[in-house]
Amino acid sequence: MKLSELLAGRSRFSSKSEIIKFVENSVSFDQKRENLAQANALLIFTTSKQQTWLVSTTERLYCILDDIRKEKPHINWSISRSKIFSGGRFALNIQTHNKSGLTGLVDIGQDHKDWYFTRSLFSTTTIENSIQQLVESQMGSKKP
């Protein structure tokens, strides 16, 4: 790590609640329809410098990159509920690919491909199931 990065960076990653709160910085965030107090987050990728979270509200699924070398987290993308559910059923295409022993690649929908995930975070269940559970727990009970 460069000295400049050390000086510019943070000493720790943002907490789960801080990541959820950060969603309000999204260009797509709708304060009237999305309640962050009820949102949930799933950590999918972690290294010594980066963490990647998926945050689900009742309306959108957000992908947030937390890099401790940067001042604050970064919202990579978000997917609206209408693209996740079709006919009231979960229709988000999630596929994984091999990258290395410890890290895999996941495609989340048609537009968001090749995102790293840490295999050890999903030792008891698959990342596909974890994402589906995260989204359905937030959006599943609400009719489109």
Binding site: S28, H74, N76, K99, S100, L102, W115
Partner: protein
């Protein structure tokens, strides 16, 4: 024979004792595997036993456990304990593979994209 947890602070020979213990467990592991192979025709360690192969396997397995146990202690991968000794002695090729895999994997960098309004 008295089994007890030793560490570098209490015993100046802790590392050597640990490494030797790993080698002994390695020998016992191959011997046990040979017994299983003789009785049931299968090897839990995935070894192919034979008159020539088994003595070589004993030396190689015990030697590998000795070296890996010694190096592992030197770089503090594990505590000097009977459990660690047994683990290294019986499964050092797997542990070794995992250590190399972990050490050689350069940290992946997640890409950054700009969120689009949708």
């Amino acid at each position: 024979m008295k089994f007890e947890v030793i560490n570098a602070q209490d015993n100046e020979y802790a590392v050597v004792i640990f490494a030797a213990g790993c080698a002994v467990v390695g020998l016992l592991a191959v011997a046990g595997d040979l017994a299983l192979y003789s009785i049931r025709g299968e090897s839990l360690l995935g070894l192919k036993h034979g008159l020539k192969q088994t003595p070589i396997l004993c030396v190689a397995w015990a030697g590998g456990a000795l070296i890996f146990g010694y190096l592992g202690q030197m770089i503090h991968i594990f505590q000097a304990s009977v459990l660690a000794c047994a683990t290294v002695g019986t499964a050092w090729p797997i542990v070794f593979k995992r250590v190399i895999e972990k050490a050689s994997e350069t940290e992946m960098e997640q890409k950054v994209s700009e969120e689009e309004r949708s």
